[in-house]
Amino acid sequence: MSEKASFRSNGGVRGWYGRQPAWVQWIVIAIALVLAFLLPYAGDIPLIGPQIVTEGIDWPSALFNMSYYVLLALGLNVVVGYAGLLDLGYVGFFAVGAYGTALLTSPDSVLYADTGWKWLMAVPVALALTMVAGLILGWPTLRLRGDYLAIVTLGFAEIIRIFATSTTTLRGDRGFASIPHPPGTWNGEPIFGVTDAVPYFWLGLVVIILVILGVRNLDRSRVGRSWLAIREDEEAAEIMGVRTIKYKLWAFAIGAFIGGLGGVLFAGEQGFINSQTFVLQFSILVLAGVVMGGSGNMAGAILGGALISYIPDRLRGISLGDTDLYEYRFALFGLVIIIIMVLRPQGLIPSRRRAMELKDREKEVAPQ
């Protein structure tokens, strides 16, 4: 029995891709990567370029925004899409990553006298902190079933936000300023400055690629099988020997880690964070992105995450008559989501497995 027997190819681009020899697949990946890194120059493409780039916000900044939304969507996809745990408070982990960085680096921090670290030094500590937050939240709650877990995670994000708003240590609205940027110089100039967002986008892209590789490795292993089994039938999974609590906790911790990555990148680019950044809307938006793109599928999560950031940014500065479309961004955005979900209920890029499921249902209703 060869490997191909267990590979389910289907039609479309993915089917084509699956049938190609390895070297063609590598070339496709290489081209996609090069194009991704060239995205900041998309505006230079004749004719379509100007349609793509954002007008109300500098295009590289919009790309950077997309990169951390994509990270968040990738992380939430592990929790919701793979392990099937409905987490409504995912922004909490993003906040822990960002605040962890701020506390360790900003002159506004009470810790500044003792730490006052560089950004890079703060990153591992902030990430460890988010993983611990994931474990602390997960340990008591992952025994709960679906709906309860959703409520508890919702509460978690609110607790973090309220904590950030009302404690003096986390400085509420005043926030933390002068968070240092990532390190590195080029021709005597710092690579990560305040004016040009392109290097930040590239950094985000590198992190995204590493996350994709890591999640892919986990997905195609005992870990991914356990997650999927838990999602499909938790009790049957446990009876087949899966340590369900352990793998759910791992999903939570890995999701938290990736969300924290988004947070430290965000803090490093903005240089300033306050409690306004981490509203609940944020969690819902990311979840909408994952579902819209195709839950349980990395390509879908990437597309969904990019779109939830791109659509509102693209609407900025466009006016219809007297009204600026940006003000209606959430209404328009809601409309777009509804249309997408009506036309493609499995998301824009359905997970291979879920697409199968849908096809089978069609078969079931079709006359024999």
Binding site: M1, S2, E3, K4, A5, S6, F7, R8, A22, Q25, W26, G214, N217, L218, R220, S221, R222, V223, R225, S226, L228, A229, E232, D233, E235, A236, A237, E238, I239, M240, G241, V242, R243, T244, W250, I254, R353, R354, M356, E357, D360
Partner: protein, 297 residues
């Protein structure tokens, strides 16, 4: 991206931890009574005065019996007699209200479900409970993973243990699919398998956990006579690999033909125990089945 696993048939055989596909050491014609050859007196599982209540319903009422190593043991009784509940108590799904269940001398009461599985009890479900969106092969590999040690770290960084266990687990899973006769469906999503194939897949998945005791809950439900005959053969083949089998089944001819000993439950109570011949002639059993001939159901 090319997947890492491209094993040759030779590698498949070598990697296969237990040669499940070997010819049955003692064979035996299907229609003849076929006592299990390795049946010893060693007790494998002991159900000891187990009572299990659901509110007012007494699903198991002071039930005791024991299984010997290497036999095929039948658990029969009319609908609602408590057979499935008995499986659930053994596999940690329910906790007995009183009494204990010992497996290889150790109580399983209060143990976690996955611990019991790793301890050597595997089961199938009366209503098939596969992981519908996973392929047949992946389903079996979940079972094989029960004894794997690949951690998140070794999976993430593709450490040697990952490669080794992925390869051997895969080979063994394929072997088990072949053993139950559905190797050609390895790459198909399990929900697309026919009903009979799904039942076989459940058996393969349970076997992948390397059980000492395999519990089958009505594995022949909905089968036609030819399929039942194949299943009978499969159950014997499983027994011949050294696995003790506990079988819940409504089809009397199948039960009588394959089991060494039988316990009969009715309304949660044990009403008879013995060899198929003894049980068949037991008036209480005949009454429980309302005098219907032995190939009822």
């Amino acid at each position: 991206m090319s997947e890492p696993h491209q094993e040759t048939p030779e590698e498949l055989d070598r990697a296969n931890a237990r040669p499940v596909d070997e010819p049955a050491p003692t064979g035996g014609k299907l229609d003849e009574p076929n006592p299990s050859p390795v049946r010893g007196e060693e007790v494998l599982l002991e159900v000891d005065h187990v009572t299990l209540r659901f509110g007012g319903v007494v699903a198991l009422n002071d039930v005791s019996f024991s299984l010997r190593k290497g036999e095929i043991f039948g658990l029969i009784g009319p609908n609602g007699a408590g057979k499935t509940t008995c499986f659930n108590a053994m596999t940690g799904v329910y906790r007995p209200t009183s009494g204990t269940i010992r497996f290889q001398g150790e109580s399983v009461v209060g143990k976690k479900k996955h611990e019991i599985t790793r301890g050597g009890i595997a089961r199938t479900f009366q209503n098939v409970r596969l992981f519908p969106e996973m392929t047949a092969l992946e389903n079996v590999m979940v079972g094989a993973d029960a004894h794997h040690k690949t951690s998140v770290i070794s999976a993430l960084f593709r450490l040697p243990r990952f490669w080794q266990e992925e390869k051997s687990g895969r080979a063994r899973s394929l072997e088990l699919l072949r053993f139950v006769g559905i190797a050609h469906r390895a790459g198909d999503v399990s929900r697309n398998l026919s009903y009979g194939e799904q039942r076989r897949l459940e058996i393969a998945r349970a076997l992948a956990t390397n059980p000492t005791l395999l519990c089958l809950d009505e594995p022949a439900a909905g089968f036609n006579p030819a399929e039942k005959e194949e299943l009978l053969q499969l159950i014997r083949k499983i027994r011949d690999t050294g696995v003790t089998v506990l079988l819940i089944e409504h089809d009397m001819r199948l039960v009588m033909g394959v089991t060494d000993r039988i316990v009969v439950l009715e309304f949660g109570k044990k009403i008879a125990e013995g060899t198929p011949a003894e049980v068949r002639d037991n008036p209480a059993v005949v009454a429980a089945y309302l005098g219907v001939p032995t190939d009822a159901a």
